[in-house]
Symmetry: C2
Subunit: 189 residues, 2 copies
DNA sequence: CGCGACGTTGATTTGCCTCAACGATTGTGG
DNA sequence: CCACAATCGTTGAGGCAAATCAACGTCGCG
């Protein structure tokens, strides 16, 4: 659980008593590879912080194919913010890509934590700001790079992560087909 | 300036004294249509809240074409979060699409405001959470819809806004060419 | 009035998808 | 521990959505 505290302390000051309070609001959970933490049609009321392993958020499109919209590895947060805010059914799935250990917090628990320790508002603000910055860059690359460029760019940015996940998941995250990914890797394009 | 206060009060409670403090940290600015608030290579240290008009964030790609990544109309915030956080030169442009009136706040001013009124952390957290929810949906639609579907979907969602902006800007925002947009509108596709 | 910004149209090209078939690897129950 | 089935990755042929290019119409504005 120290892992979350260490992460929070990169953004705000937290003494040990406060750290203990924070921890008390979270639930430690383990998920086996391929198990679902959220599925289409249900309500999303939980935010997850990944301690170990990897989660992904994906949809199933009209043709029945999965498309990965986000990954979350160690020290990343993941949830469906739209369902969380509107309390309407989600269109997304969240799945464990590897056997994973996470910290989970429900919306109502989070609200209580924020009332108890208002300084945590700042932590979550800064996390979201960082995520949003990454989003602006992602849109930029999606809009300017070809499929091949996106692959090389990502591979260069996250070489060790690319090794951890199936290629078809990365292909769908980068928004092209698994077959095309094969051709890029083989240099046949 | 009431406009910002009204917006903030949709998210947090603010008495009149606090509202006055908030306002004192902002600068009111006007920009003529087509003028630049930020250009590539410079540092971004300001966040803008649109009172009236419309701003957009765009890049110029390798071929010299503009691609719009974001719009901001009344009551929306806009900035380059990556440059803001890293204090590295931006790759983006921010431009007034119409004659626009905005409230501007620099990073260091914002920090001082947040120290003075920590409850504003919550406001910005909620704004960012809302933006991030919208981002997750945008990626979903970019990944699942064809160009034509994206056009009709957006047109249906924001019919009055579509009237306000040149078609080529909307085309680049929806990630297809201006010529293709013409063909969609003419039903020739 | 004339020029630049914006929009349209058609011909051609291309990046990537789809489909189908086939290896390789992994995992699992008998 | 093997057999067999999933799962994952590869390859090639053919097709399509959208880009590109070029030319031309139109409007608004200085």
């Amino acid at each position: 659980m120290d892992q979350l505290i260490t992460h929070i302390r990169k953004f705000i000051v937290l003494d040990d008593a406060e750290a203990a309070i924070v921890i008390s609001f979270f639930k430690n959970e383990n998920f086996k590879k391929k198990s679902l933490l959220l599925h289409e049609g249900s309500l999303c009321s939980t935010q997850y912080f990944v301690l170990k392993g990897c989660l992904r958020l994906y949809i199933i499109n009209e043709k029945g194919n999965e498309q990965t919209l986000q990954f979350a590895i160690e020290n990343w947060w993941i949830t469906d913010y739209m369902s969380l805010q509107t309390q309407r059914p989600t269109h997304f799935y969240i799945q464990a890509v590897e056997n994973s250990e996470v910290l989970a917090i429900d919306t109502d628990h989070l609200e209580k934590l924020l009332v108890r320790l208002p300084k945590m508002e700042r932590y979550f603000r800064l996390i979201l700001q960082k995520s949003f910055a990454a989003y602006q860059m992602r849109i930029k690359y999606l809009y300017t790079q070809s499929a091949e460029e996106r692959y090389h760019f990502f591979n260069n940015l996250q070489p060790e992560f690319v090794q951890r996940i199936p290629q078809y998941m990365l292909a769908s995250y980068l928004d092209f087909s698994a077959e095309f990914m094969s051709k890029i890797r083989a240099g046949k394009v």
